[in-house]
Symmetry: D2
Subunit: 380 residues, 4 copies
């Protein structure tokens, strides 16, 4: 029986907390596996690591009372208050495994020490719990936009840069680096670009460690991926696609900063060109509306053309709770990447992402088929 640890970068955020509560609730038989893709019949006989056996730890840069966090999620309607109380011990246990995250400062010293500390935390977690695998999942807030640096190009250059002071790498690069060096599969659930450097892709292949990402596909983009494919299959020509995302606290606040919003919008836009095969008018816009709290409302307007040029339209409004949508996918990804037979990118996990690594189909139905096929092969 494979014992898997899930190491969450951003361990005190809403997604992480919801993942911990949910795992405990599944273990205790208090909830069904709704929202867990790996709970579908297609994955039933594959011998994936059990949800109930997952062990949690992680890094975070802010301290907070875990009971308070769970209460806030309950107040926001993300989970029932009594459920939060029922699994308080599990939440406390996970909190006990949270270590101080790394902070990146312009003009700080060499970052090799940060990477080594992260690696040490991972090794320590693995050995104390006797885990076969520790999957590192980045669920921290989106980082500001970063211009590519020359040292991104190869592991040799990047490794050397870790020993020098100067323009620092973002935290996500350091976590990915430490994970790969320690043999921990790495999953990037955010649109931050720091974990997608060529140097890190090279390292992953070199060390034979699997990695996947980026940017979990939880709401608007999920709907887009199936609707765009519908238009393609019906030979209807999409002319414009305009999306507005109203995001509350947490990620919404981070994305109020234009640079971060641009990273997110770019990630969200990719699915359309990939599925439609041509660019369209319109764009993706992200606005922070603090009052929405944990909730997100997205409105998309699609203008399309039918036979003889007739113009028609489709609109949709998605009202979702991002933490509730993301948390089960984090568990899915941990269960799946833990059994990856080879190192390097796993494009078959593209089903979960807005901006998948590697090449693969862009419409959700094909991605699902690819995922199931991969999981079956990996499980053998």
């Amino acid at each position: 029986m494979t014992r898997v640890g899930v190491w969450l970068v951003g361990a005190r955020g809403s997604v992480a907390t919801t993942a911990v509560v949910g795992t405990a609730a599944v273990r205790a038989g208090l909830v069904e596996q709704t929202g867990l893709v790996t709970g579908l019949p297609e994955f039933a006989e594959l011998g994936l690591p059990e949800v109930a056996d997952l062990v949690f730890g992680g890094h975070d840069v802010v301290a907070s009372d875990p009971r308070k966090r769970v209460e806030l999620l309950a107040d926001a309607g993300v989970l029932p208050a009594e459920l939060g109380r029922a699994v308080a011990d599990d939440v406390a246990a996970a909190e006990a495994e949270v270590r101080d995250g790394v902070e990146v400062r312009d003009g700080g010293g060499p970052q090799r020490a940060d990477v080594e500390r992260i690696s040490h935390d991972l090794d320590d977690f693995r050995s104390r719990h006797g885990l076969d695998t520790v999957v590192v999942v980045n669920v921290a807030a989106t980082e500001p936009h970063r211009e590519p640096a020359p040292t991104d190009a190869s592991w040799a250059l990047l490794s050397a840069a870790l020993d020098l002071p100067g323009t620092p790498l973002p935290a996500s690069s350091l976590y990915a680096c430490a994970a790969l060096l320690t043999g921990c599969p790495f999953v990037d659930f955010t649109p931050s670009s720091g974990a997608r450097l060529p140097a890190l892709a090279e390292l992953a292949v070199d060390r034979g460690v699997a990695h996947a990402g980026s940017d979990g596909k939880t709401g608007e983009t999920l709907v887009k991926s199936v609707l765009a494919a519908m238009f393609v299959r019906r030979a209807l020509r999409v002319r414009s696609w305009s999306g507005t995302n109203l995001l509350g606290g947490g990620d919404g606040a981070a994305l109020a900063e234009p640079g971060r919003a641009a990273a997110k919008a770019a990630s969200k836009a990719r699915v359309l060109t990939d599925v439609l095969g041509h660019p369209v008018d319109g764009g993706v816009h992200i606005h922070h509306v603090a009052d929405l709290g944990q909730w997100k409302t997205a409105w998309d307007h699609i203008g399309f053309e039918g036979f003889l040029g007739t113009r028609m339209s489709l609109q949709f409004t998605w009202q979702g709770c991002d933490s509730a949508l993301a948390a089960p996918l984090v568990l899915d990804l941990a269960r799946l990447i833990a059994i990856a037979p080879t190192g390097g990118p796993v494009p078959e996990l593209g089903f979960f992402f807005k901006d998948p690594v590697g090449t693969g189909p862009a419409d959700l139905a094909s991605q699902f088929d690819a995922l199931v096929a991969w999981a079956r092969a990996a499980a053998r």
Copy 2:
């Protein structure tokens, strides 16, 4: 080179007129093949009958000036006015091939004569134009609800009933019967139940004639089929799905009659249970709003549940022109069923229908794959 005739039951309706105008416009190079599924690359090398070579005829029970019909469609925004003028000769040619439709009256005489007259019209059309195949497509207004009759059960009983006066068969049964007896593939694009009798299915197998249906999937149901599959693949639990359809003139007026609306709503509801695998709260409602003319607005509200029971919702509004959406599918169906290698139901054409004959997948992506595979095999 296969020469295919398209015989439209309801030949003076909006769908039929749009199909004729559109075919002529494609032939003249005035428009692209937007909305034509068989114009996609997947069907490019299969040697399907060319759109430009299709010849039109049909039956209708009402007379109308074809130029007037085209003008009304242009005023309604279904097609550009100049396009209608450019293909006036083709519209006139199709009109010259329209014959009086059969009228069904309680207490009328035996209906054998009606079937024979339809058969004669089909034979005459085929021979005068030297056609290899004539595909009969029912695009007439939805018929009122009809209770099943004992004679529906077998061709022997139904055939005998055609020689007796008394409770008459609906017109759609007579067209289907005549088509199958004359060796013409039959496509039912409506939710009328008259063409779906066991007796007719038996006849089709017996005579080796292909048939497909029912009820073209052009708008709201199309969107439902992909969104429902999305929820399934993400293990999100749909709790309620409520749909409201505002339909203008034509089919809207016919569906203002509760019996017909019930038939349509039943057909529209099937996709959900098929894809989701369980019934959900809510329902499908159809309302006639004459002022919408050729246009339809559908609003769907979906309540679903995620991880830990969090309730979320998705709404969509579809604003489409049914004729513009249906007409290219009629052409697709004619091109495809014309090459069906065997008689009886063709479930692989389920991609086009709300309520497909036979068994097959219910989500659009799988239906598309099945369609492409079938077409490739049939084309060999």
Copy 3:
């Protein structure tokens, strides 16, 4: 200082429970007066009876644990759980004043006894609490449709009918009758027609008791009343207005019965013709979606015409909690009708209703002005 009692018909329903909880919360200073129209500055100096001084009692035909009811409302998101716990004593006090409601049975005996029992309950409540006025507010479930009876026409006939067995009056007639006979102002917050008989209007004038109704304007109709007036003031011609109401439990279940839904839909439709001055295409539809619980989602589609006949549209989606919207209006109505200077209908309370008694403006802005003017005059 006027001491006012509020006697709720349907005292164990969601609206009544929310009104009791809310009053206690206002009294305890736990919440602001959001949603209370009489809390606006326009009503500040009029010396209306204080919310904090309202005393509650009522009738209901079903028994239920008040603590349970409050918990269910908290679970449904109508009110915060801790708020419900904080005012448990007030809820218990109101529960102690709830008496068995009257049940109406075909073939039952004369209903005079029912009226007398209700009157006795009202008198008893008034005297035990030393109240100056007891306002009776009907917030019970909508009654089935009822055909008018000859005895509705005058109080003499109706009064005589109360002494005979046979076709019974609906419960709402009996409550209204008892209230008026006992000198209690009567407010009909429902679309039930039983309290709107000519005989009762005559009685109210005769006894000098004020009454108002019908059918609280809490959501979709509220929005309609302001949007319709907007179109009128801009000379834009509304062509169609189609409304779909998805209602959860409680009233939704009652309205699943077609007769009751028809009563509600008729009440909801009136505002349009009143404000627009002409009938329009489309209609109002009510569907029960149990899964929505205490919540309601309404979608309206408005087709309108501008200069030179250009067709445009407006859609809105209202997602509201009916109890939270209705409860403060019940308090407003009690505070206001308690100071009515004369008996008979109070059309100036039309601001609160879908289908107001008497004559008055139909658009919300004018209704508000009329209400403020009336309250100022009444308060003098």
Copy 4:
């Protein structure tokens, strides 16, 4: 009988062309007065200048074939093609009165000459047509954002600046200046700030010429003004209000430039704070979607709070044609300001504007009442 000329700045744009076509269509009895506020019964007996008697001229900086312009509007669905053909002579007559607009260049010479040329064009138009009044209406594209200049402060400073080279005034300032100097009432239908300088307000009062503006309230803001007032009258607390505007060609293209979009968004945002009396979360966003052509789709999401803090929401989608909405208001404004009894700002025309000059009520119902009262007084 007052003869009124309407001088349109931006005379070859869509709004201007639609106004000219519509006036001719009204004159010819081809259309009703839908969309004309001054066509309502409230204005019937006031002896306003007749629509049919309006004479058109104007300035524009681009040349274009008027027949072509009308055809493009017909293709875009703004007006029926046959209507455009029927009034071709009137369109040609208006085109004959269009003069070259002024162009503003950094580093150009003094702008006094521009003002004098505009004044001359206005005088010439007035005298040749024997007009009692010429109303100048700015319907040109929104100008880029402009920082206030010290010379904006008084007419003495501004007048002196007109004789110096250097930082130039925007074109809208020059038109307003020339209009006021020539005694022509000036209406600013755009959000450009150039016509709102203190110096110009001083000039208007000094010369006794009426002026009004700014930024016609045609769509989203119109709906906002009535919905916000509804929330206020019901004591419901608006927490967030987020608006997204998808604009097609013409103004959409101009507003793709961030500076201009900011001016527009500021103008659109004002109504909320004015009506609600407090700022709310969210914002107004404008996006250019060329494919929408003459059409605009706006989606607004409003989060509000009811009794006991219950959170609810309202969304609306407005699909309108800006030219069709704006053109009749231009005619209304010309008819009304032509009878203004005094010079200076006319705040009672605030009914028509997003960002009215002077002080007045902000909700539409009160604005309408104020408008009617003003018109009655002015007409005496």
